[in-house]
């Protein structure tokens, strides 16, 4: 365990949630992914993904919408504008921490 990084958003700074945020950030604004597709892209179990999505939803970083299509329930996931901003701030925070010697952007 390394020392904690208080400057970094703790909601995003955990491997599984970071992967979720990256996946959703590759969507264009207004696009959404179904829960099973996100699960497949991330190769996570449904339970694990649900847990992390709930935490991101509590922070208002992701928006989860449940609808019905041809009587089948479908769950869509997307970043909220606040989530997109938080992810950008997080990435900038990483670059700032790493400084000029850090990983190339």
């Amino acid at each position: 365990m390394s020392e904690p990084w208080p400057e970094l958003d703790p909601v995003i700074h955990a491997q599984a949630r970071l992967r979720v945020m990256v996946a959703l950030s590759t969507l264009a604004s207004g696009d959404r992914l179904t829960f099973p597709r996100l699960q497949q892209l991330l190769d996570m179990t449904a339970g694990n993904l649900s847990t992390h999505l709930r935490k991101l939803e509590d922070a208002a970083y992701v928006e989860i919408s449940k609808t019905h299509e041809r009587r089948t329930p479908v769950t869509y996931v997307a970043l909220t504008p606040a989530g997109r901003r938080a992810f950008e701030a997080y990435t900038e925070g990483l670059r700032a921490l790493l400084g000029p010697r850090g990983e190339p952007p």
């Binding site: 904690p4 491997q15 992967r19 969507l27 179904t34 990483l94």
Partner: protein, 203 residues
């Protein structure tokens, strides 16, 4: 993976870059495969037709090659497009579906125009082949222009311009030179773009 593992900033940034690249790849349509399939269909299909006109290969063989490769090239983007947009909703998917439908619509309209002109003018076989091949290439060129604009993909736009030039060039070349223009300029252009996409994907 417990998902709560503490990451160093360097690991975290590496994860972001790696995952972003992987997702772009998995959610994309593999354009290098599509352009390769079409390039091959043009090169061997129309190249074969040229050879058939010179009696080098039987016309039936050339026809089958063009038909089979053309069918593969037609089905492949549909399969890849459907797979890439699986589980996705929103403006990008709508734009992709509109773009895919535009191929079908414009080729259908062109077929009606060409068939009707052919029925009325009763042109020679040479003129008929010029009309069909050049107009198909022009429609494909316009679709590449549209694709270049839609996905802000300048190389694709350049291919579209090249296809329009080839379409005009094929008519000016006349039969049977037009088949060489289709094979090497049309097919060659698509294979060059396929090679470019392959290099960009690795790079």
């Amino acid at each position: 993976m417990d998902g709560e593992g503490e990451l160093s900033p360097a690991e975290s940034l590496a994860l972001i870059e790696g995952q972003r690249a992987e997702l772009r790849r998995r959610r994309g349509v593999r354009p290098e495969l599509i352009t390769f399939a079409w390039g091959l269909a043009y090169l061997l299909g129309f190249g074969g037709w040229y050879l058939a006109l010179h009696g080098v290969v039987p016309a039936a063989v050339a026809g089958v090659v063009l038909g089979v490769l053309g069918a593969i090239a037609l089905v492949l983007p549909i399969v890849l497009g459907v797979r890439a947009s699986k589980g996705m909703r929103g403006p990008s998917r709508t734009a992709g579906a509109m773009y895919g439908a535009a191929w079908g619509l414009s080729f259908a309209a062109n077929s009606v125009v060409q068939s009707a002109l052919q029925a009325q003018l009763k042109p020679s076989w040479d003129v008929t082949s010029l009309m069909w091949a050049s107009s198909s290439l022009a429609v494909a060129g316009l679709m590449y222009l549209a694709g270049g604009m839609l996905w802000r993909d300048v190389p694709q736009y350049v291919l579209g311009v090249w296809m329009l030039v080839s379409a005009a060039g094929s008519v000016l070349a006349g039969v049977p030179g037009n088949f060489l223009v289709l094979a090497f300029a049309g097919g060659g252009g698509m294979l060059v773009l396929s090679a470019y996409y392959t290099v960009r994907r690795r790079g």
